[in-house]
């Protein structure tokens, strides 16, 4: 076991150390020291990840076994880390983007009190630790530990400003929604254990042939339920927009770049299972597409800058699931990567704007920030173009790959997907135009305060902008240049089983080059048209007090999904709980207990009167008793 990759345990271990130091000594450490420790451990983990990535790229994959996590006669679960192409790519994304966000946070959170500041960094480090555990785990149990860990950290960070009730409610909502999904994940793991007897990825994937189609469909559907919770898909997506209650860097890290991609990672990791379950694939594709469209329509009418980004995240995650559902695993993972770049960029840019606006998040009160914040403006524009899918920015390549995969499966998927992409371009440029173009619409005080953010904020923005612009070049489609899809070639070993299976069973013909050019042309032209339309429409946006009507109102209210859940799930459950509490518990159970007590009390009070102290009375009773016994004895 003398493998150079044996040291990978250091990667999650470092953030754990950072968490312990910052968490335990948060009252003693100064802010700058906390920032250095918090960011430093992530930087070290990032450097190690780069090393690991280079090793993996050189063909060195490794399954590291450290100790037995569960050790019984029938079940052995090792504390294993699996380092291969997929996990090393995720390691780079998590630690790389994570490091930039840590640096950004040192400035963004600077106004917090010293111990709260340390608490924040401790949570961030714990989060990175959990996420690393999730992607490095060599079996589903280790993945589940990380899976739960990120859910917990998400709760802690969304509710970071826990003195605000609305924020803690949002945190609870996120946690509960995640738990619902986690139950599906857990059931799937139990099912796997029952049928295969092991949870190691390699053993499971080697034994898929032994599973019946029903088992595979059931397991994958349950795993997908887990993914809908973590990755915010219908029906469990509503927590993500509410999660914007947390500090903005948290939104960038957790709710855009890393945690929400856990579901994608899990499905990509289990790709062979999913490929063999056709029904599940269809479900995933349809749910992903529906989420993409639903969230995009909601984003059209939101006025909170973070809410727009949140719904756009949900929508982009929908695209990734569409990719997974149609079997374009590489495309989905590719989109995870590019999305991590440009969505982190957009969130951090939005954070920079909010910072400059002294906490204002309503876009109706912004406008004209272009001249005040040039770096934020430029980088934000890059992010918008990238997410809108304009070549040669990164979003174009990844989204195009998913859409091409969708077209090969079913042209209808592609049509709806392109529609969503148009909406993406529209709402992103609505956001951009309302924020940066036109005249400033806020108060004078805010206008006076406007400033470019400090370098700890702008440098991560610049780095992310460069990545968002150039990130797509690792996955240039085959049609442009043969063998230029470096990412696809790199990830190939992970999806080898799937490719073999598909080659043997399915009969999807390859798209001809001309079709592919046409598809790209349509989606790019559409996105450009939506972009220009939004630009023109909103660059001279004026505040108006007119209420939204018709469909606009429905969209502004998020299709009333929250209200629907409230009416269908929360209210009936509350009334059942009230019934159980008032009738069954208070009247029923309490009634029996209290009734017994009262009966004994009353009875003994009555019987006590017999104890009169009169000797005659006692004797009389004795005689009567004796007579009764005589009568019973002789006459009855």
């Amino acid at each position: 076991m003398n493998n150079t990759l044996q040291i990978v345990w250091l990667i999650p271990f470092l953030p754990l150390i950072g968490f312990l130091i910052n968490g335990l000594f948060r009252k003693q450490l100064s802010k700058s020291l906390v920032g250095i420790i918090g960011s430093g451990v992530i930087l070290a983990a990032f450097i190690l990840s780069v090393y690991v990535f280079l090793q993996v790229k050189g063909g060195n994959t490794h399954l590291a076994h450290y100790f037995n996590f569960i050790n019984t006669t029938s079940l052995k679960v090792g504390f294993d880390f699996q380092i291969d192409q997929l996990s090393s790519l995720f390691l780079l994304i998590i630690t790389g983007v994570g490091f930039l966000i840590h640096v950004y946070s040192t400035s963004y959170m600077h106004e917090e009190e010293s111990k709260d500041f340390a608490k924040y960094f401790a949570y961030l480090n714990l989060f990175v630790f959990s996420m690393l555990l999730l992607v490095m785990g060599g079996n589903y149990i280790i993945m589940f530990i990380g899976w739960e860990g990120v859910g917990l950290c998400s709760y802690l960070l969304i509710g970071y400003w826990f003195k605000n009730n609305e924020y803690t409610d949002a945190a609870k909502k996120a946690f509960i929604m995640n738990r619902i999904g986690d139950l599906g994940f857990l059931l799937a793991v139990f099912w796997l254990l029952n049928k295969v007897g092991t949870v190691n990825y390699q053993d499971v994937f080697a034994n898929v042939d032994k599973l019946t189609p029903t088992d595979i469909t059931g397991i994958t559907l349950l795993l997908f339920v887990g993914a809908t919770g973590k990755s915010a898909q219908i029906p469990l997506y509503t927590w993500l927009p509410d999660a914007m209650a947390g500090p903005t860097p948290v939104s960038a890290l957790i709710h855009a770049a890393t945690m929400v991609t856990a579901g994608i990672y899990m499905i990509a990791r289990s790709n062979i299972l999913f490929t063999m379950a056709e029904l599940t694939q269809t479900v995933i594709a349809v749910v992903g597409l529906a989420t993409a469209i639903l969230a995009a329509t909601i984003a059209l009418k939101q006025n909170d800058i973070k809410k727009v980004l949140a719904y756009s995240t949900v929508s982009q995650l929908g695209y990734m699931f569409l990719g997974l559902g149609v079997g374009a695993y590489t495309g989905a993972v590719f989109h995870v990567m590019t999305h991590a770049f440009f969505k982190a960029l957009l969130f951090l840019g939005a954070g920079s704007v909010i910072h400059a606006m002294s906490g204002e998040q309503d876009m109706r009160n912004m406008g004209g920030l272009k001249k005040h914040m040039s770096i934020t403006h430029i980088t934000f524009l890059m992010g918008c173009i990238a997410i809108a899918g304009i070549p040669p920015f990164s979003g174009f390549f990844s989204k195009d790959e998913i859409l091409a995969g969708a077209f090969a499966k079913n042209p209808l998927y592609w049509g709806i997907g392109v529609l969503g992409a148009l909406m993406t371009a529209f709402y992103m440029f609505r956001l951009y135009a309302m924020t940066f173009l036109g005249k400033f619409r806020g108060t004078h005080e805010q206008e006076h305060h406007l400033h470019e953010s400090p370098s700890a904020i702008t440098i991560p923005l610049i780095v992310l902008a460069i990545l968002a612009v150039t990130g797509g070049f690792v996955g240039i489609p085959e049609v442009f240049a043969h063998g230029a899809h470096k990412l696809g070639a790199f990830l190939d070993p992970v999806f080898a089983d799937t490719n073999k299976y598909v080659a043997a069973h399915a009969h999807t013909e390859h798209l001809s080059h001309s079709t592919e050019y046409m598809l790209m042309g349509i989606s790019v032209a559409g996105a450009l048209a939506a972009l220009i339309f939004a630009w023109n429409k909103f660059s001279k946006y004026q505040k108006s007090d007119t209420e939204e009507t018709g469909i606009g109102k429905v969209l502004a209210n998020k299709w009333y999904v929250d209200e629907l859940y409230d009416a269908v799930i929360v209210k009936p459950r509350n009334s059942i709980a009230a019934f159980l509490n008032n009738i069954v518990e208070r009247k029923g159970v309490d009634g029996i207990v209290n009734g017994v007590g009262k009966a004994v009390n009353y009875g003994s009070r009555q019987i006590r009167l017999l104890q009169s102290g009169q000797v005659g009375g006692y004797v009389l009773l004795m005689v009567v008793g004796m007579l009764v016994l005589f009568i019973i004895k002789f006459f009855l």
Binding site: V615, G616, V623
Partner: protein, 109 residues
């Protein structure tokens, strides 16, 4: 003499005793009534013993005297009991200057 005469006498004595215990308040009279009941039972015991001996145990001296001896035991025990009882009554009288049992309800509550 038929056994029924003895039984009737015993029951009569016993009932007098019961009525006495129930109706009188003087502790000493109650005591005497109790003795009356006790002796009614003794009388019955002796009578049954004699009858039993005549019917079954002719010629068996032990069977003849068993119940009679029992009665002596009962009388001894009764005498001991009476001495304790009288002592109690004396003490009651010393405390309450009365032998009325209806005063003795202070243990109530």
């Amino acid at each position: 003499m038929p056994i029924s005469y003895y039984i009737v006498l015993s029951v009569t004595l016993f009932c007098i005793g019961i009525v006495g215990v129930l109706t009188r308040r003087n502790a000493i009279i109650i005591f005497m009534c109790i003795e009356l009941m006790l002796n009614a039972v003794n009388l019955l015991l002796v009578a049954f013993s004699k009858m039993h001996h005549l019917n079954l145990g002719a010629g068996n001296p032990t069977l003849a005297s068993e119940a009679q001896v029992f009665v002596f035991f009962i009388m001894v025990v009764a005498a001991a009991e009476v001495s304790v009882g009288l002592a109690i009554i004396v003490m009651i009288y010393r405390n309450t200057h009365s032998v009325d049992v209806n005063f003795l309800n202070r243990l109530k509550n």
